[in-house]
Symmetry: C2
Subunit: 367 residues, 2 copies
């Protein structure tokens, strides 16, 4: 376990500072890209990113956490990249992240993000899709225009592959929800997880490639980021059922309402417990759950051990991510900073029960 390497307080402070610094250096570049779009798309982009209200007035919302941008930035620095190079990677992955949010919100029929109507609800499907396209295209442009020969070329390739992985994962995820309850497996879940892991891998690969990191290091980073992405997705699944919707800005029980085959649900269905069987019977027969039934389904999942198993799996994937990261090379203290970010990325989810979360090193810094 690398957790001990960095003393709690210091690691939390480091992450807080790293996230704040990434925002400071990345946000102006990101704003420049979004504001340079066609005015209609710039308006939708700024709304989606939380910078502006529907009518264009600036918000007092926090700018996004830029967790993925920070991941790219810290990775690039671990392998010696300067800030200008690292920021290019951060901007590119944040653009791809927001492209995928804009399109996924439409595909998943999500109507709320951060407590506000999603872009397709606020501006219509067509304009929201086109804004997503514009952000993806800008991400390609940011890296394609970068100097740096082979390094920049590898970064462009890593970004293209990341986008491909996200899309494949999203398609798998949409299919998964139509699987009969007795057929859905953890393997299928992990395939669909590419909707998340694809960009986590992209963040470290783009960052490391821009910095000219050696191939073996990039490979270890990929494995680390894949595990981190799985841990993040499982934590997100847990939060979507048992978390506080005031924290997430999303409606409660959203994933249950939409019959999503999330990790806790799959673990419960495969538990062989009476609660798991009752859950299967409910999911199989009921096409649309009543509001009153949703907390009962959540309880069944918990009773079947689905929540506990999901918590275990999330911790396990985080541990694997940290082990892989330790083998990735690069500058050691910067890599320790990355490890702190890994912890933070998972711990900022409100997914651990009060007892499990007690003493969590990032307690109090989650936002």
């Amino acid at each position: 376990m690398n957790e001990g390497k960095v003393p709690g307080g210091t690691a939390a402070d480091f992450v807080k500072e790293a996230l704040a610094e990434c925002r400071d250096v990345t946000l102006p570049a990101l704003r420049e890209v979004v504001e340079g779009l066609h005015p209609q798309l710039a308006r939708i982009g700024a709304y989606h990113l939380g910078w502006r209200e529907h009518d264009g007035t600036p918000t007092d919302l926090h700018a996004g956490k830029m967790m993925r941008g920070t991941l790219a930035l810290l990775t690039a620095r671990t392998f010696g990249a300067g800030t200008a190079t690292a920021v290019r990677g951060a901007v590119a992955v944040e653009l791809v992240h927001n492209f995928s949010l804009l399109h996924d919100d439409l595909m998943d029929a999500d109507e709320l993000r951060r407590g506000r109507p999603t872009a397709w609800v606020a501006f219509g499907s067509g304009p929201a899709v086109l804004t997503g396209d514009a952000l993806l295209s800008q991400a390609m442009c940011v890296l394609a225009a970068a100097d740096g020969g082979a390094s920049a070329r590898r970064a462009s390739e890593a970004l293209a592959k990341a986008v491909d992985a996200i899309i494949h994962g999203q398609a798998a995820d949409l299919s998964l929800d139509h699987f009969p309850v007795d057929r859905v497996s953890t393997e299928d879940y992990l395939t669909a997880c590419a909707k998340t892991t694809g960009l986590f891998c992209g963040c470290v690969e783009v960052g490391a490639s821009l910095a000219g990191a050696p191939v073996a290091g990039v490979r270890a980073l990929r494995a680390a980021a894949w595990n981190l992405g799985v841990a993040w997705q499982i934590a997100d699944d847990i939060e979507s059922i048992w978390g506080d919707s005031a924290d997430s800005g999303k409606p409660p029980y959203g994933d249950l309402r939409r019959h999503k085959r999330t990790y806790p649900v799959i673990a419960a269905l495969r538990s062989g417990t009476p609660a798991g069987q009752r859950l299967a019977a409910r999911l199989d027969t009921v096409k649309e759950h009543t509001e009153a039934e949703l907390p009962l389904l959540a309880d069944l999942i918990d009773q079947a051990g689905g929540r506990e198993e999901a918590e275990r799996a999330a911790r396990d994937h985080l541990d694997r991510a940290l082990r892989e990261l330790a083998d990735a090379g690069g500058e050691e203290s910067a890599r320790d900073g990355l490890a702190s970010l890994f912890h933070h990325v998972i711990d900022r989810h409100h997914w651990q029960r009060p007892t499990a979360a007690a003493g969590s090193m990032t307690e109090g810094t989650a936002q």
Copy 2:
């Protein structure tokens, strides 16, 4: 005029053969990409491309003309690229073209393409958007994975910029339709034309970059392709009003029904003629035209000189395209082949009145 350079029959034969050969060498690579997508997306992609029916059975439809692929392929060859390199460019631009069709059909609420329901009608908005995303991402991957150092890198950059231009043009086009009739200008039209010219420029730039063409040649090619794209768009506008919907596979008067500010409409509105004023009054006051009114609107546009002016502009832009092409350098006979393709691209539209079309060199080869 370069028209005289290549004798009629020979040029028509050349284009026919070039299009057929491009299909022969590009289609297998394109199929491989589409069939390698997630099965759900592969199915939608094959339907959209006309290869398969909704239920997955192969169609007896013609495969697409691959006009953009052929443009990239012939440009690459004009500057000495081998077939494998040239095909990569052709596949990339065909993927981008189909990405934009999938998304535009949704944005424009088009329900028919080649006489069949569009993908978003047949499979739903979300899956159609995701399939478009997948084709765009694959286009990036095809070029990012290409060997060839600086040439391949310039091709990737050209593709990214082309996608950016298409999206900007599409946003401008969506805005244009909301302009009051007295405010819409030819300049606004040309800005929105980037939805078409963006990829025409992308085709020649990707092809020339992959072949390592000199910068001055690429610049002339860009100017040629931009003019070709404008000519194409105007011809398409004319066909959409006066063409035979059995040929286009689209409903008649589609652009008029949707209040689109196409070139003939703008020319009529700005003609200062009584017919133009009557047209303006109709467009300003009527929110939804009856079926019976659509041919009357078309007649008003014609009486105001909108059709004649559009025909003149299309021919003028084609002439400019051919003049720029003549300055682009590269291998002369291959470039003459490109010039023949330029003629064909415009002449295959059913936009010229019988008298104007008489003696057209590609007569009989349009498909």
